[in-house]
């Protein structure tokens, strides 16, 4: 189900239960890409010596896949704590931007709920929740941000991630290389559809192009996980400069 379908008139009636369900359903295509990766992470982690208890503890408390892949790559026994924590922070620094973009939509919520909901912020739950909030805002629905929709998508992601990383750790060596099957293409697919929903014309998309080019170049020529931060910040700089011209 696309975000535009998800916000079609009959789906947004009222019902809190149906809002949660709408969130879960919108996450289903995303899970298609997530589950194979969760299995792979689990299998890799056991090769590095993490137990089938330790890994779900990591994915359940940290719940940020990119940083967990990085941590497992760098894992030694005993682990370099400072290095792994620093890399985790770097890989997840994009959350600052994501939370900032979401902030205007969260003002109607009590802080206790907001701080709990933000624990479940990941690329997918954020992108779905924000795209939905923008569509509801342009349709004149208040409040624009549906907490139950967001939590439906976020909890579906959370349970799948923790459950299937644990399964990967248990199944371990039985799994082959899932990359060969093409499941990794699910992420570009999901993100491109979400970006189409955010499309506001060529001029507004220039910062995205800047981000793409810079992130790609940094990815090619600088080792490590810098490319996400470099790409995002360059795009924002472009947006800031362009807004000055207007």
């Amino acid at each position: 189900m696309s975000v535009s379908e998800a916000t079609s008139s009959e789906a947004i009636d009222d019902g809190s239960g149906s809002e949660f369900r709408r969130g879960v359903m919108s996450c289903v295509p995303v899970l298609l890409g997530t589950i194979p990766y969760a299995l792979v992470l689990g299998a890799q982690a056991t090769q590095k010596g993490l137990s089938a208890v330790e890994l779900p503890l990591m994915t359940g408390l940290n719940f940020a896949g990119g940083s967990e892949f990085a941590a497992i790559q760098l894992w030694t026994s005993p682990p370099h704590i400072a290095l792994i924590v620093a890399i985790t922070f770097l890989v997840n620094s994009r959350h600052f931007l994501m939370g900032a973009a979401l902030a205007p939509f969260l003002e109607h919520l009590p802080q206790r709920k907001t701080f709990a909901a933000l624990f479940f912020l990941c690329d997918e739950s954020w992108a779905l929740g924000l795209a939905d909030a923008r569509q509801r805002a342009s349709a004149g629905i208040a409040p624009a941000f549906s907490l139950r929709y967001y939590m439906g998508a976020a909890l579906a992601m959370y349970l799948a991630w923790v459950g299937f990383t644990a399964a990967g750790a248990l199944l371990g060596p039985m799994l082959g290389d899932v990359q060969h099957y093409g499941f990794d293409m699910a992420f570009p697919a999901v993100f491109l559809v979400l970006m189409r929903g955010m499309w506001k014309g060529m001029k507004a998309a220039w910062p995205w192009l800047v981000s793409l080019v810079v992130a790609a170049l940094v990815y090619l020529f600088i080792p490590g996980a810098w490319y996400v931060a470099a790409g995002a910040v360059s795009g924002l700089l472009a947006a800031w400069l362009m807004a000055g011209d207007a």
Binding site: M1, V3, S4, E5, P29, L32, S51, V53, E54, L61, N62, S67, A71, P78, P79, I81, V85, T88, F89, N92, R94, H95, L97, M98, G99, A100, A101, L102, A103, P104, L106, E107, T114, D123, H180, G182, D184, M185, F187, P188, A189, F191, V193, A204, P207, W208, S211, V214, A215, A216, Y219, L220, Y227, V228, A230, G231, A232, G235, A243, G244
Partner: protein, 99 residues
């Protein structure tokens, strides 16, 4: 069977990750942004998403690039589920066919 150094690493990872999750919200809540800052925040989601998937655009594998082009075209006209299915199927098949 939980190793103490492992537990410490996991707890600290979780701590810094949660800080990144609440940081942007804490800094920007109840702020009224100017026009320029608003333009930056409007562009931010797309900038983050495209940066995350940027490596796919510079893959060394021609099968991956072709699959990405097919996925891109699908994403401009189809909804989420068919786009994901086309993306995964084209990547899987092209990698198989093109070695």
């Amino acid at each position: 069977m939980i190793d103490m150094a492992t537990l410490a690493t996991i707890v600290l990872m979780a701590g810094v990750t949660y800080l990144t999750r609440i940081g942007g919200y804490v800094m920007l809540r109840n702020r009224v942004l100017g026009a320029r800052a608003t333009a930056v925040m409007e562009a931010a989601p797309g900038c983050v998403l495209i940066s995350v998937i940027a490596p796919a655009f510079v893959s060394r594998n021609p099968a991956d690039l072709l699959a990405l082009a097919i996925t891109f075209i699908a994403a401009t006209r189809l909804s989420m589920l068919p786009t994901v299915l086309i993306g995964v199927a084209s990547a899987g098949m092209l990698r198989h066919l093109m070695g």
